[in-house]
Subunit: 127 residues, 2 copies
DNA sequence: TGTTCATATAAGCATATGATAATTTAATAA
DNA sequence: TTATTAAATTATCATATGCTTATATGAACA
C-alpha cells in the first residue's frame, strides 16, 4: 500500500474514505477504546441526565428525599409523567425507593450521581 | 388549611394532587433549585454525552486529536453521520477544530469533558 | 483556472422518547 | 369488606433525533 509522509511525520494513506488518513492513530485509539458494551452503558447513563424533567428530579433529590406528589408539585407536572421518569431512573439504579404506607419516597441511590451533577454544573458555569 | 402531623413530625397537607404532601420540603428544595436556564443547559450538556456515536467520538478524542475521516474509519460510520455529530459537539463547544490544508482535526475543547467521561465510567464499573 | 479530495450541508425517513388521559394497583382506615 | 388515596401502568400521540443519500463548499495543487 503506497504511503506518503505528512509534515508531521506520521504515515498517511492515500484515501480517507474507507481506512482513514492516519492508520497508526486509528489503531492506537482503537486499542484504547473501552468495550462497546461499556460505551453503550455510559451513553445510556448520560442519556438519563440529558432531559430537563429528569435533571430537575435528580437535583431535587440531591437536596432531599421526596415523595412522588411532592415532586409533582415542585415540578408542576402531572403525576404519571413524574412516575414515568422515576421509573426510568429507578431501572438504572440512579434512584431508590422507600415505602411508608401509601407514600413512596425517592432518593438518590449513589454518591456518583451528585458528583456528576456538580461537575456538569461546574462546566456550565465556566462557559 | 387543615394540617395533620406525620410520624416524622413534618406537617402534611390533606391532598397531594396539587400542592404535595410536604409543603416545607417542597419550598426548601424549591429555594435550592438552580435557575431553570441552568438546568436546561445542564440537561443539554448531558444530552450530548447520551448518544453512543457521540460518546465514542468523545472517548476517541480524549485519546488523540483526530480528523473526520479517521473517525469515520474508527467508528465504521459514514462521513456525513460523523460530521453531523461533530457539528453538534462543536456548537456546544465540547470539541474544537484546527485546519491543516484540506484536513480538519478535531479535539476536546475542555478538561471538564475528560473528567465527566471518567466519572461516568467509574459509576458504570461500580455497578 | 480547473480538478481533486476532505468536509459540510440539506432533504427525507424511520425510530425513540416524553407527555397526556384513562385505568389499575396497593395500602390504609372506617 | 368497602372507600379512599398515592403511585404505577397502558395506550396514544406528537415531537425530536440520528442515519442515509445527494449535493455543495472550500482549500490545495497541477
Amino acid at each position: 500500500m503506497p504511503q506518503i509522509t505528512s509534515r508531521h511525520n506520521k504515515s498517511v494513506s492515500e484515501t480517507c474514505e474507507t481506512i482513514g488518513i492516519h492508520p497508526e492513530a486509528i489503531s492506537m485509539v482503537s486499542a484504547k477504546m473501552p468495550d462497546s458494551s461499556f460505551l453503550i452503558e455510559l451513553a445510556d447513563l448520560f442519556k438519563l441526565f440529558g432531559d430537563n424533567t429528569r435533571i430537575r428530579i435528580l437535583w431535587a433529590l440531591s437536596e432531599s428525599e421526596m415523595c412522588v406528589c411532592d415532586l409533582c408539585a415542585l415540578l408542576e407536572m402531572k403525576q404519571p409523567a413524574v412516575s414515568h421518569q422515576l421509573k426510568n431512573l429507578k431501572q438504572a439504579r440512579i434512584v431508590k425507593t422507600r415505602r411508608e404506607g401509601k407514600v413512596i419516597y425517592y432518593s438518590l441511590d449513589d454518591t456518583h450521581i451528585r458528583s456528576l451533577l456538580n461537575l456538569g454544573m461546574e462546566h456550565i458555569q465556566e462557559m
